[in-house]
Amino acid sequence: MRYLMTTKATDAADETLYAEMAKFVEELTAAGVLLATGGLEPGGVRITSSGDTITVTDGPFTEAKEAVAGFALVEVRSKEEAIELTRRFRKIVGDGESVIQQVFGP
């Protein structure tokens, strides 16, 4: 089963953190677990629809703190594995929040 882990923005990361993250990503790739990962630009573009109207708004938005800053798509055998991976990830990045959701499909 696949899980998408999304992580909200945290305070500035330093070199050591990046190095540790890179090592973690490498490990997960080697284990055949990590399918895709990436960081997301802050802000982004918001597209809303209401009736026949589509509104396109450029960021940044006021609630930037709540915005997703990165994602990882992992292939695991159980929810517990996804939690365990996320736990390790959180240990590296420090305070903050990640959300994991099972991905149905494709």
Binding site: T29, A31, G32, V33, L73, R77, S78, E81, G105
Partner: protein, 658 residues
């Protein structure tokens, strides 16, 4: 640390997850330390038990993998100290191990893969051991995935570990010339696991996705560990691309959807992209393309086609042609036929497919009639196509596929005037009341083969002597003369009854070959006693047969209470069976304290459907008596490598001359 308030069940599941993620590394590191994979796994299991005891209380540690490794390592050190009786040298080793980082060496997991896929093991044991050690699956999970009983898997794993220990297989990376062969064994095991999941050969599901995933993980892992091997990336590419079609290859009610009818929008682009990337890495690694790379290249052709009509069948046909040279299996040749049919028209495909109908290995392979049906239909030979689809349906073991094939047959209208079919005639022939039971069974076997190979619905009047001869060649070409002649007279009797011309005309009566009762010569006997990995029961039985010169049935009917170990003899019927030192050494181990019941026991308890008489049941283990058929089969299989003819020997041949 996760709070200690977690419910027990939650901790268990967490531990299970951690175990699955970490066990390969832990077991690999321990195997390097103790040089025995069975012991290493036991030590790792001990650590797991410790976790199950402590974590519900203490909470899950910050680095659970390291925790498990540390505990297991401590046990390993204890074990080495104990077993070495505190010899100075071993004490030094234990001390050094203690000081060493628990991380292990990067190649440990790769070594473990080579070990669990080692050629000394039978294939099914390689598969079970790999899933167990590298995938961290329990025997119950493996059994479920393979629709096998748990005891069977437990036994396979135990036997594999024993063989590795007995053979002294080193925990090392193969080098030079050996590498290619050993690597291809690892690749084959992984692909076998993938295929078992991808095209479930039996049961009502067409896919067992957990096995596909497990194989993919193993493949991706191997690609990281052996990045310079083109075939590894080829295999990963092949699996990623095949897995990308998982969702599209079954319809709403689980029926198979053929490649050209699949909704390509449901193909997993992410996996396709990963497959392409793996393919690029395979090409970068260089060298002439091997079988996995070629198959992956074919999968790439399909993945690149936006619609089925865009498929580059000419390229696929030429790739299959190269593949068929490297890997001339009937299945590859059949796929070549399909590709030719698509690239150059049904006639070209049928020409190659028809060549395969003579191949005994494809006798019961449902895809051959299914492919032929397809090609015949495209040629407008509708009635022949319909019969091939029905025949394919009768050969497949998969429910969803059978339903699908029946539907394909039903789409073609059956002939208006119902002719007398082969199936109908065979049923009428066997239903006569002037045949006794034995004859009905014997004739039934012959006719069943004809019906399976030629189709139930074949009009009887179109049956030719050539067709019958072909079935005989593929089914009984290698059989003993008596078998061949028995089937031949069944056909003749059927023809006489049905007032057909003699369809056995193409079949010569065969002169009986002399009974293969020549004994096994001394050199081969010697090799037999030293065959690696022979279970104790088999070894004892063979020794006893050889030393006692008693009949096989007599020896198999021996009971524990009949044995007189001191005088090396046992009461059997009215007489005695006696043996010498070889058997005498083995018997006490085989008995293992049993005092009653059959001496030679079957591997498992009998199912409720065939409960043996109490005399054939072990009162202590509930297992039944070993059957002649099973004993003969095991002997034949074990002695295949010794027999110059490659058939293997029969138990009766153990009896010395004179």
């Amino acid at each position: 640390m996760i709070g200690a308030s977690l419910p027990l069940e939650g901790v268990r599941r967490t531990i299970d997850a951690v175990w699955k993620m970490e066990s390969a590394k832990i077991v690999a590191g321990l195997t390097r330390m103790v040089r025995d994979v069975g012991l290493a796994e036991e030590l790792a299991q001990d650590a797991l038990v410790a976790a199950l005891e402590q974590w519900p209380e203490s909470g899950v540690p910050d680095n659970p993998g390291a925790w498990l490794t540390a505990i297991a390592k401590r046990r390993a050190v204890d074990h080495i100290r104990r077993s070495a009786r505190l010899e100075r040298k071993h004490e030094q080793i234990a001390y050094e191990l203690e000081q060493r980082q628990p991380d292990g060496e990067p190649d440990d997991v790769l070594r473990l893969m080579f070990l669990s896929c080692h050629p000394v093991l039978p294939t099914e044991e390689r598969v079970a051991l790999t899933l167990r050690l590298l995938g961290g699956l329990t025997a119950a999970e493996i059994a479920r995935a393979f629709l096998a009983g748990e005891p069977v898997i437990v036994q396979r794993i135990a036997s594999a570990k024993r063989t590795l220990a007995d053979e002294g297989v080193p925990f090392e990376l193969p080098d030079g010339g050996e590498l290619a062969e050993r690597l291809s064994s690892v690749l084959d095991v992984i692909y076998l696991i993938f295929n078992e999941g991808y095209s479930a050969t039996s049961g009502d599901d067409l896919m067992r996705p957990e096995l596909c995933l497990e194989a993919l993980r193993l493949g991706r892992l191997l690609a990281e560990l052996a990045p310079h091997e083109a075939e590894v990336h080829g295999l990963v590419a092949l699996m990623e691309l095949q897995a990308s079609r998982s969702a599209a290859r079954t319809g709403p009610s689980g029926e198979p959807v053929q490649l050209h009818e699949q909704n390509r929008g449901r193909w997993d682009r992410l996996l396709i992209r990963r497959g392409f990337t793996a393919m690029l890495r395979a090409r970068e690694a260089g060298g002439p393309p091997g079988p996995y790379m070629l198959q992956a290249a074919i999968a790439v052709c399909h993945a690149q086609a936006a619609t089925a009509a865009d498929t580059d069948w000419r390229r696929i046909a030429s790739l299959y042609e190269v593949l068929a040279r490297l890997l001339p299996t009937p299945v590859v040749r059949l796929n070549h036929a399909v590709a030719l049919g698509m690239a150059y028209g049904p006639e070209a495909g049928l020409a190659v497919a028809d060549l395969l109908t003579d191949d005994p290995t494809l006798r019961d392979y449902h895809l051959l009639p299914s492919v032929r049906g397809d090609l015949l239909l495209r040629l407008g030979r509708r009635e022949e196509a319909r019969r091939e689809f029905l025949r394919a349906a009768s050969l497949t073991g998969n429910d969803a596929e059978r339903a699908f094939l029946h539907r394909r047959a039903d789409e073609i209208p059956a002939p208006e005037a119902p002719t007398l079919t082969l199936g109908r005639a065979a049923r009428d022939f066997l239903a006569r009341d002037d045949l006794d039971g034995g004859t009905v069974r014997s004739y039934g076997q012959t006719l069943r083969r004809l019906r399976l190979s030629l189709g139930e619905e074949l009009p009887l009047d179109s049956l030719t002597a050539d067709q019958v001869a072909r079935v005989f060649r593929t089914a009984w070409g290698e059989a003993a003369a008596a078998t061949w002649n028995r089937h031949r007279s069944a056909v003749r009797s059927f023809c006489a009854w049905a007032s057909l011309e003699d369809l056995a005309a193409g079949l010569d009566r065969r002169a009986a070959t002399p009974n293969r009762t020549e004994t096994i010569d001394a050199a081969r006997l010697d090799a037999l006693w030293n065959l690696p990995g022979v279970p104790l029961r088999e070894l004892t039985l063979w020794r006893l047969l050889h030393e006692s010169t008693a009949g096989v049935t007599t020896v198999l009917s021996l009971n524990v209470e009949d044995l007189d170990l001191d005088d090396r003899r046992a009461r059997a019927g009215g007489g005695w069976v006696s043996w010498r030192s070889g058997t005498a050494r083995l018997l006490p181990r085989l008995l293992a304290g049993r005092t009653r019941g059959p001496l030679f026991l079957a591997d498992r308890r009998p199912g409720p459907a065939r409960a043996p008489t109490p005399a054939d049941l072990c009162p202590e283990t509930g297992r039944g008596r070993l059957s002649y058929e099973r004993a003969e089969y095991l002997f034949k299989r074990a002695t295949k490598p010794l027999d110059p003819a490659g058939h293997g020997y029969t138990l009766r041949q153990l009896k010395p001359r004179g």
